[in-house]
Point group: C2
Chain length 113, copies 2
């Protein structure tokens, strides 16, 4: 059994997420012993966006600060600090930073089978 | 397929969590269509604590604000805003608010089978 972990997010490696102005930190992952799902931390520069795409898994998101538009299956909603967003499996979606400051959110996903 | 959801946490029902000074909001749950895991939001008054217990499932936690001690299998760590905590399945654990202000954190769990 893996040990208990408690670290500040800033201690976790900050990686390029593959899109301009988008960084990712894998806060809790399979290697920590987590059996079911992963916690990721995203930071987007102003105007940065995640890819407009679809996949088999869901997203569970909590906005820490900043302001974004969330696009999902032709719908669009604005979200800011304290918003919770659920993106269903197979939906076509993306997040875009529409504010003047950085956008930070948690995005959790099930482990790939 | 369930729809995309984007709401402020304060729009989600605030419920007693079963311990003095501990409230819970189920931000994303099975009824939202989430197939694998749930996102819960906890608020603890100063000195409030979660029960010292053990169960078959893990916790994935992110501290939003406040200051707490996390106890897990005889270890103890202090965590505050921006800390990520992973509590493994079957560990004996609890969270205690040791600050002068409220403690707020997200705690995600897999759905019960």
């Amino acid at each position: 059994m893996m040990c208990f972990k408690a670290v500040h997010f800033s201690e976790v490696t900050n990686e390029d997420a593959g899109e301009p102005g988008v960084k990712i930190r894998w806060l809790i992952k399979r290697e920590d012993g987590a059996p079911n799902f992963a916690m990721r931390y995203f930071e987007l520069e102003p105007k940065a966006k995640s890819p407009h795409h679809s996949h088999e898994w869901e997203h569970e998101v909590f906005i820490l600060d900043g302001q974004c538009n969330v696009f999902c299956d032709g719908q669009e909603k604005t979200a800011s600090e304290g918003y919770v967003v659920y993106v269903p499996p197979k939906s076509v979606h993306h997040f875009e930073n529409i504010g003047e400051n950085r956008l930070r959110f948690l995005c959790l996903v099930p482990h790939k089978k």
